[in-house]
Point group: C2
Chain length 416, copies 2
Amino acid sequence: MFAEIITIGDELLIGQVIDTNSAFIAKQLNKIGVSVYQITSVQDDKPHILKALKDAEDNVDIIILTGGLGPTKDDITKKTIAEYFNDELVLDNSVLENIESIWKKYVRQTLLQVNKDQALVPSKATVLMNSNGTAPGMWLEKDKKTFISLPGVPFEMKSLITNNVIPKLKEKYDCPFILHKTLLVYGLGESTLAARIEAWEDALPKHIKLAYLPSLGKMRLRLSVKGFDKQQIESEVQAQINKVLPLIKNEFFGYEDEDGNEEAIIGNQLTKLGKTLAIAESCTGGKLAELFTANSGASKYLMGGVVTYSTQSKMDVLKVSEDIIKKYSVVSAQVAEAMAQNVLKLYKSDYAISTTGNAGPTKGDSDAEVGTVFIGIATKNGVYSEEYNFGNHRARVINKAVNKAIEILQKEIFKN
Amino acid sequence: MFAEIITIGDELLIGQVIDTNSAFIAKQLNKIGVSVYQITSVQDDKPHILKALKDAEDNVDIIILTGGLGPTKDDITKKTIAEYFNDELVLDNSVLENIESIWKKYVRQTLLQVNKDQALVPSKATVLMNSNGTAPGMWLEKDKKTFISLPGVPFEMKSLITNNVIPKLKEKYDCPFILHKTLLVYGLGESTLAARIEAWEDALPKHIKLAYLPSLGKMRLRLSVKGFDKQQIESEVQAQINKVLPLIKNEFFGYEDEDGNEEAIIGNQLTKLGKTLAIAESCTGGKLAELFTANSGASKYLMGGVVTYSTQSKMDVLKVSEDIIKKYSVVSAQVAEAMAQNVLKLYKSDYAISTTGNAGPTKGDSDAEVGTVFIGIATKNGVYSEEYNFGNHRARVINKAVNKAIEILQKEIFKN
């Protein structure tokens, strides 16, 4: 079973908004055995949307559209769908009631005509009620093909996909099982990893697809299989993983979970151990803390963190001594270690991690080369630090430092 | 002049990776007057890539592909392009030298055959040298159409777009000027804003396109125009903005800059005033600090921040008194205000902002309803706080709290 996702909106085509909807939808479709053939982003332009619908109808079974359902004049998706289906827009009373109830609860202002017009839907459409917003989802069928139109607001789209679209698709289509299993591998380049596992890769059965996804300092190695016998597929993939793991035993970090989340792997291990974490950040500026707190359950193990961005704040907040800073500079192993030790004490945590570095583009408070980063790790048993140079591109230095800090922390936490 | 962006990779179609490349490329193309007609994501599959190339060639002048140029077996873009152009792959010595020099500098291991093979390019292609990686960019022409193939690694792609692709396109094509100007408007719903500015919108000249982009607690109102007289376009758009601003004077936040960055607006104003900022975060978990530090120049005004995620750390690190916490609970106006005041003192800053709330899904350390968030603002002259309920979806609560904190901070900083 194949699907195409069509995202509609000039904001995508001028680069003002990044399309995050498609990845979410693709993931949910994969889980029920629907493969995504193509993702297409088109302008708020009727002829173009009509063309995209026709192309998609020629290529796939299921067409999911997002966007263009708002109350303002630039939203034209609904009219365009009606035209594509030789249909007309009619008022749906259940949608109007939903709009009125949302209005009453959250807006407390007069309902305008443009809001009422959001209750107009093509007469051939089945409404997918949007409990989080005023734009209804719509489900239309043509021969054996299904067309689904959803609002572009991610929160509303997600709820409709999860609660309406996926259950209805499962009911209508008999789909295979798709398994993706991704190994996180740190500290090996793409070709080095490929060379090391070449014999294993060459011996993989044809129906197991292998992909390499490199990013800053880490690699994702993904195995994908599609078939109707779930149990057999799972054990087959596990058997292959058991063969490759010994080849990367020092570099294997864990399995990527559904949200691509290494922090959750660390968090779960800390929770299991009953241990806690504190974070002291300079050049990573809060990004490490934010990654951990994005997961619910972070309060079980994360005591908190400090962002001591200025030199003064490293002294005032973290009590790093002025002598150390003067003697070794603010970007140094000594400062990274003092930051880690002091944040450990401040938050009374079991583990602490620190970053201090110069992300550029200028040298800032230190004479250290742009790209120099020290990462410190403290536990109740001691402290150590490591020095890196992550190049001269600010965002890249920050992200590499974050990834490296997570890698070091993982090794420290899993070594027991 | 129209372009299509084709991003290649199974990881996009299974939702493992969000396509951020297209937005970057689209933005750069817009700046030189090239409109993006469509963005298409396709699988690592030869027939599909060939079909996408053919479709794009039928519709646009410029086709930009990213992805599938790595050294591993799943990377097939180069072979597919050679087939599309009835061409063969030949060794390019300048690319091989580049690979060898990168290898020598960063990898310090034996160069493998798969790496050397990255120097194979279609004989009809002009190489765009990739100084940040081993996969070369490629430029091919067919009649009046241009095909450009770039690596999918964002850092490498960006550098090639900026330094090679854009200058060459400007040289080859005579493009119009495209202006997008986006007003950030806080605290108005989409239809309420539309109703308020309806007369203005209806009187807009046809060639000025207006778009509404709603997101959590804020709205982006974008005017877009295309034409050959840059000066005339700019003054025309400014005249329209001058007409609409009085209608939204209490809700207008500022203009969105190229990176969509409200933090930079606040940062620039603080730098101009010679004032500093400190941040105390509980439920927003470091996200506020991270947004500010993502901008270079943050060290000029950001003293730092603390993430006091646990109740204990609010007492230990921020010296919020246990009495206040016991009497009012940890999610309260009193705690938000104490956090803001104390972080102001700790970092010796002029402004401080704090968040304390319950992002859910469970109640955590407080009895406050899920979604309750208090935001505190302290200056040397005093402190106040505001209470919100942002619903029951964790990521949404965090993001709404961040947006609201930025809105409040902006009002405070610009009121002088």
